[in-house]
């Protein structure tokens, strides 16, 4: 059964330096509050996995939490670059960052394979792309039935997955609605999981085919209202597109970033 913890306690107890951590949410429901708590607790040497690193990993990378990033699209959607990610890749600030890069299809399949307990995912992918030349985790195998050449990537099996969701009931069952992305697969693929939620309610109000994660499949739940801001939680608040644009200016400059981090993460926020 999932244990209800404060966010501070959940992060402190379940995320260790050196862990492989997947924080998912495809544009929607990005676990920013949890990311900020990880920054505040100064976790180090994390291998971060996320299809779209987005601002949350830009912040964590800039704050020095990461030694490696596994991803498939590293931009600020509709705006441009993730400047903290670029600074780390291009100039090693604040530390060297190793990157391993995939396509979305391969990452999605790799999470699914992780949830399914398989060692690898198979897809019709990477045909003619240079990505296999720079990522030794992309191989090609022959279908034993048809002889077709297919791409294979190792499954994603994080130490910890962190997601944000709309709500949990008091037993710890969790409902995810809207763009559900890769949330379910990320939790089921991981050894441990932390789910932050907008609220805890008596009744989830889930329809029969809704995306529900049962309490016994989750390690810890922490209530974190507005925990996905500046991304969004369908039914609660909209994506703050103005902030996504503003981030471009903040993240371009190391000093502006540090000031933002001090003011908004270290001095403000957290329980």
């Amino acid at each position: 059964m999932a244990e209800f913890l404060s966010l501070k306690e959940a992060v402190s107890r379940h995320i260790n330096d050196g862990d492989t951590v997947a924080m998912e949410g495809f544009t929607h429901l990005i676990p920013f509050a949890a990311g900020h708590e990880i920054i505040r607790q100064e976790k180090r040497d994390l291998t971060l996995i996320r299809m779209t690193p987005d601002l949350v990993y830009d912040q964590m990378i800039g704050a020095g939490c990461a030694k490696k990033l596994i991803f498939s699209w590293g931009g600020n959607p509709g705006v441009g670059s993730l400047h903290r990610l670029r600074d780390a890749v291009e100039r090693g600030w604040p530390n060297q960052l190793e990157i391993l890069e995939h396509s979305h299809a391969a990452m999605a399949c790799a999470y699914e394979a992780g949830a399914a307990g398989l060692p690898l995912a198979v897809l019709r992918g990477y045909i003619g792309s240079d990505l296999p030349k720079v990522n030794d985790q992309i191989k090609f195998i022959e279908c034993p039935f048809t002889g077709e050449k297919l791409a294979a990537v190792p499954s994603v099996r994080p130490d910890v997955s962190v997601i944000h969701a709309q709500r949990a009931d008091r037993k710890g069952n969790v409902l995810v609605e809207g763009i559900i992305g890769i949330q379910k697969e990320a939790v089921l693929a991981a050894k441990r999981s932390i789910v932050t939620v907008e609220e805890v309610v008596d009744d989830l109000g889930a329809s029969v085919n809704a995306c529900v994660l049962p309490s016994w499949a989750i390690t810890a739940i922490a209530e974190a209202p507005k925990g996905a801001k500046p991304s969004y939680a369908l039914g609660y608040y909209d994506r703050d597109n103005a902030f996504y644009k503003e981030w471009d200016g903040i993240a371009r400059d190391r000093d502006a970033f540090q000031a933002w981090l001090n003011e908004n993460v270290f001095e403000n926020g957290g329980a």
Binding site: F26, T27, H28, M51, T52, F71, S72, W73, G74, G75, P77, G78, V79, S81, L82, L85, R86, V89, E90, E101, H102, S103, H104, A105, A106, A108, C109, Y111, E112, L123, R124, G125, Y126, I127, G128, S129, D130, L131, V134, E148, G178, I179, I180, G181, I182, K184, E185, C211, Y232, L234, D238, R239, D240, N241, A242, F243, Y244, K245
Partner: protein, 258 residues
């Protein structure tokens, strides 16, 4: 009486016209999204638009800033998980057109959204592949829309993120179970299509008022022109109205969000 329009508007309208009601289009963010929604709001009201965030048959009222804005989900017929989107809908062969933008494109329509320079020591690190590598091969065909410049139109891309026809034009020959690849590239100056034999991009239509010299100057290889080069039809008053409304609505919406 000729209307006033910008080269960007010319590009969006021409890109929109490439789509029709019978198509199921996997839409990239940015220019492709603008063109696809313009098509839906003008001549192709029943075109099916799909975004990689899992939103199937979506009809946004404003253009999304990200691939997963709430607007896309709320106006969709249904929303599926990301693995389902890539495995069942794209790899399963349900997408007729992949509509992509790019940072670099070369003469064989290979596209690069990964980096400029050397992989381990990039001059400019770009966002990466995202959905494009598999959209490029699993969609039945691919449309590309991008602004024309020497920086973008290079002889050979620094990195093939998503294959067009490979380094020699032959990458799709004998590759089983993949789509036809890029069939049209629409820029702010012209329309290009791959030569049926060599697969090298050639100019098939110039936008009104654009000269061959302009295209030559904006292309990083010795660009060829088709035997017969057409003049792209001008945007109509209705297309321009709808496009301008859509962009004004979108800007107001994104600026107003806090």
């Amino acid at each position: 009486m000729s209307l006033e329009f910008t080269s960007s508007e010319m590009m969006s309208v021409t890109a929109a016209r490439a789509l029709n009601n019978d198509m199921t289009c996997f839409v990239g963010i940015g220019l492709p999204s603008e063109a696809a929604n313009l098509a839906r709001l003008t001549h192709a009201p029943d075109v099916t638009l799909i975004y990689e965030s899992g939103t199937l048959q979506t009809k946004p009222d404003v253009l999304p800033l990200s691939i997963g804005d709430g607007e896309l989900c709320e106006s969709a017929l249904t929303t599926v998980s990301v693995p389902e989107m890539f495995r069942y809908w794209l790899q399963g062969g349900k997408v007729s057109v992949g509509f992509l933008g790019t940072a670099q494109i070369d003469r064989y329509a290979n596209i690069n959204t990964t980096l400029i320079g050397d992989y381990r020591e990039p001059k400019v690190r770009l966002p990466g592949g995202g959905g494009a590598p598999e959209i490029g091969t699993n969609a039945h065909e691919v449309f590309i829309t991008v602004k024309h410049s020497k920086r973008t139109f290079v002889k050979d891309v620094d990195f093939i993120t998503t294959v067009g026809f490979g380094r020699d034009g032959k990458a799709r020959d004998n590759a089983p179970n993949i789509g036809r690849g890029p069939t049209v590239v629409i820029t702010d100056l012209c329309i290009l299509k791959p030569d049926p034999d060599t697969k090298e991009l050639v100019v098939t239509s110039l936008h009104p008022g654009v000269t061959r010299e302009q295209v030559i100057d904006a292309t990083g290889w010795d660009i060829r022109f088709a035997d017969q080069v057409d003049t792209t039809p001008e945007p109509s008053a209705k297309e321009l109205d709808v496009l301008r409304d859509l962009k004004a609505r979108t800007n107001a919406h994104h600026a107003g969000q806090q």
